[in-house]
Symmetry: C2
Subunit: 539 residues, 2 copies
Amino acid sequence: MTKERLYLFDTTLRDGQQTQGVQFSTAEKHQIAKTLDALGIDYIEGGWPGANPTDSEFFEQAPKTRATFTAFGMTKRAGRSAENDDVLAGVLNANTPAVCLVGKSHDYHVTKALGITLEENLENIGASIAHLVAQGREALFDAEHFFDGYKANPEYAMQCLRVAFEAGARWIVLCDTNGGTLPAEVYKITKAVIEGGIPGDHVGIHTHNDTSNAVASSLAAVDAGARQIQGTLNGLGERCGNANLVTLIPTLMLKEPYRSAFEVGVTEKALAGLTRASRKLDDILNRVPSKSAPYVGASAFAHKAGLHASAILKDPSTYEHIDPEIVGNERIIPMSNQAGQSNLRKRLKEAGLNVSDKAALPRILDEIKRREGLGYAYDTAQASFELLARKELGILPDYFSVRRYRVSVERIRDDHNVLKTLSEAVVVVEVGGEKMISASESLDDAGNDRGPVNALSRALGKDLGPYQQVIDDMKLVDFKVRITQGGTEAVTRVIIDSEDGDGHRWSTVGVSPNIVDASFEALLDAITYKLVHDKVAAV
Amino acid sequence: MTKERLYLFDTTLRDGQQTQGVQFSTAEKHQIAKTLDALGIDYIEGGWPGANPTDSEFFEQAPKTRATFTAFGMTKRAGRSAENDDVLAGVLNANTPAVCLVGKSHDYHVTKALGITLEENLENIGASIAHLVAQGREALFDAEHFFDGYKANPEYAMQCLRVAFEAGARWIVLCDTNGGTLPAEVYKITKAVIEGGIPGDHVGIHTHNDTSNAVASSLAAVDAGARQIQGTLNGLGERCGNANLVTLIPTLMLKEPYRSAFEVGVTEKALAGLTRASRKLDDILNRVPSKSAPYVGASAFAHKAGLHASAILKDPSTYEHIDPEIVGNERIIPMSNQAGQSNLRKRLKEAGLNVSDKAALPRILDEIKRREGLGYAYDTAQASFELLARKELGILPDYFSVRRYRVSVERIRDDHNVLKTLSEAVVVVEVGGEKMISASESLDDAGNDRGPVNALSRALGKDLGPYQQVIDDMKLVDFKVRITQGGTEAVTRVIIDSEDGDGHRWSTVGVSPNIVDASFEALLDAITYKLVHDKVAAV
C-alpha cells in the first residue's frame, strides 16, 4: 500500500511568539529555524514581515532552509486593491516562496470586528490569494475562527473557503482560533468541508489547546481527510498554546493507523533527535523543560511505583508505550519515598554501585526520606543522590572539610561616584590535616561583579591543594532556586548544574533557610562529585 | 430531557502521588481531600493502605467526606483465598465504603509479570471482588492494561471484565495503563465492551497523557457510553500524568454535547472556584502553576497579539471560548515587545492610569523593550510594570533613595562548636534629605538564620521614617530566581511576591549579575509599590 503524504507546517516563529513571556531575538529565530529544518518540517512560518522590527529583520536575513519558508500576513483591507495594500505589500516584499494569509470566515467577525460587508470580505480573500498566485507564490489561506464560523453560518464559512481555493490557494487551513472546539466536532466539520468541495489533500488544520485537545483535534482532522497539520515546537502559542508538533510527530510516525497510512518529512534518524530539539527550544527560551511532556519530558519514561519498576526490569514494554530511545529520550527510575528497593538497586547500579550489603538498602532509603523531609529533592540532583548513597555505604572518601566561610555583598559609590556592587568571599578549608585560607572577589575579567555564589565558588576552587587540577575545568552552568518546605519552616532549595571540560554535566542540591548557604552546600557536593567521578583518592 | 449522571473519580492521592518529584505528607493529603470534596468530586481515592507509612497513617485518620472515600489495592494473589491475603486484608482494614482493586486483563502480563495461569488470574479477580461485596463494600475493578490486552486477546480481556462484573463490581474501569492508546481506539474498544455485555453506566475510563490525549480519550469513552471518569487534579500522575479533571470538569459542564446530556456532582458555584482549587494544589506541592493550563492557567485568557487585544476590548467572545469568570480565572493583556499600544493602554487603565499624553505610550513601550533586553520580564511583575510606567509619566513620587548597603553571610562555629550561619545587613537610606542608617541580623524569633535577603529586607524596613507604618504589614511570600540572558551576559532575575495585611499581593522584578543585588532591587520596587498603592505622599 502506498503511503499518502502528510505535511507538517510549523508556526513556532509566528504563533509561538504569542506565548506569554516569550520573545525571540533575530538570532534565536535563526537557531529555531535551523532546528526545525533539521527535524524535517515541511513549512516554516517565520513571522509577519512588517509587523514588528524583529520579524522584519529576520526576513531581511532569511534563513536558507530545505523546508518551504513562509511569510505570514493578512488578507487585504476593503476599499483598496491587493496591489495597493501596504500591509500585504510588506509581506510580499519578504520574497518568500510561500505566503500564508489569515482572513475571516465567521460572519460575526466580518461585520463586528472588521465592520465590512460579507461580500467585501469574500472579495478581500479572493483578490489577496489571486495576487499571491500572480506573483508566483504558493498561497495558504488560514480561515480564522472557521469552526465557530461554520457552526454559526455554514454557507458563508464554506463560501470563504471556496473563494480562496478557486483563487488558487494550495492549502485551505481550518483554524480553531479560540480553541474551544472539541475533537468530535472538528472531525465532523472537516469531513463536511471535504464533502463540500475542498479536496482533503488541500485541507490543513490549525488548533489551540484551550481544552487540552489540540493534538486530538489535529488527529481527528487527519482522520476526516485533512493532509496538513499546523503546530509549534513544545506547543508554544497564545493562551494555552498551539498543537504540539513534538507530540504529534512520534504519534504519526509510530502509531496506527497513521504509521501505515502516511509518510511525513521526518526521518527515523531525525526522530531520534526529537528530545534534543525540544530541550534546545527550552534552552533558547530559558524555560524549564516540562517534565511531563509526552515522549520528550524527563518524566515521560520515569517509573516511580515500586511494582512498575520491578516489571520494567523484566520487560520494559510492560509499562512503556514506546521505546524511549526512538525519540532520543531515556528511562528513569527516580528515588523518592514511594520507591521500593528495586528502584534503589537499579539507580545505584546506574551509578556503578553494586550493593552486596542487604541492610544498606533500607538505611539509604531512610536517609533519603529523612532528607526529603528537610526539603532536599533527589529526583533531579542525581550527583547528590550518589554522594548520599556512597556516604551510607562508607565509600565516600573524606576529601576535605570546610572550617568556615564568610561572603559579603556591598553596594557603594566608586571613585567616579557610580553605584557598584562587589562581593568578596573568604573560605577556610582543611585538606589532609592542613588548614588553607583563600579569598576571592566576584569580579570577572571585564571587571563586572558576578555575585556572592560566584565569589564563594572561586575562593573554594582557588586552593584545594592536591585536588586543584581536577576541579580546574569545572564550571557552574545553571542555578535554580525554590522556596520550599523543610519540616515546619520555609527553606531555600538550590540546585546547581555543573559541567567539566569533557562536557560531562551533573546536578547537586543544597538546602538551607539561607540562600547563600544552600548554594554553598550544592557547590561542595558538585566538587566532591567531580573528585569521585574522576576516581581521585583522598589525601 | 433528563440528564444522565456522569461520575467523577479522583485519584490525585493515589496515582497522582506517582508523579516524579511529588510526595504528600498526611496533612497535605487531608488538605487535598478537602479541596476535592468542596469541588464536588464523587469518589476520592486516598491511596493504598498498607503500601507505605504515609498512606497507612492517612487511612487511620480518614477524612470525613461527602464524596465516597475509596481505598486502592490489588486483587488477591494466587494460591490463597481472598480472606487469607494479607495485602488485601490491609486494604479492607481501612474500612472505607468503597474499594478499588487493580487486576490484570492483558494475557501477556498474567503469564509474564505475575507468572500464573490465565485461569488463576480470573479466579483472583472474581474471588477478590466477591470478598469486597460480602464485606458490604462498593467494589470497583481497575482493569490494568485493558486496551493493550483487548488488542492482544479480546476474548480474555472481556472475560476478566465479566468475572469482575458478575462478582458484583459496581464499576468496571478500563485502564490505558501505558498511555499509548489513541482516542479513536478508546472509543471503538469501549463501545465493544458495552456491546459485549458490561452496561455503560457501570463502565469507567482511566487514561494517561503519554500522547497528550488523556482528556480526549476520556471524552471518547463517554461518547461510547462510559459513565465514570478517573483522573487527577492538574493532571498529576506517573510519567506524563493522568487525565486532568481540572480540564475535564469545565468541558463537561460548559460544552456540548456534554452540557445538555449529563449531570455531574460539581455545582456552578464550585466551578467558579476551580482556578483556586488548581492553584491550591500547586501551592501545596510548591510547584509553579502551569501558565498554559487550559481554563485555569494564568495565560489561558492572556491576549498578547495586538490585533486580538483590540478585538477583545470590543467583545471578549471574539477571542475567548468561554468567559474566564465562570472558572474563576481572569483576562490578562500582558506587556511585551509584541504588544501594540492598545495592550499598553488597557494595562495602564487596569493600573488606574489614564494617559492623555499620546507621546508617552511609545516612550513607555521603548523603555519596556530596552529593559526586557537587559533581562527584565514584565509579564508577571505587574507592580514593577506600573512603577516603570509611572516613572515615564513623571508621576512616581521620589520617596527615598538608597545610598549604600552591605550584607554578609558567615558560617562559623558557635560557642558550642556547632557550625552556624548568620547574615547581617547595613542599609543607608536618604528620606526627605535626611540620612538614616539601619542594621539587621537575619535571625528569626526562634534564633534561626533566614538569609541575606531577609536581613536586607529587615534593615530596609526598620527605619523608613515617615513611611514606616505603611510598610509594617508587608511580608515576602515568594521568591523566584532564574538565570537569564541580559544583553551578552548571563544575569540573575529575581521575582518577589509580597503581601500586605489586607491580603493584597503583588509581584516585582530585579535583575543583576549579583543575586543579592537583584533581590534588593525587587525588594525596593515592592516597598515603593506599596507606598504608591496606599497613596502615600513623598516627604
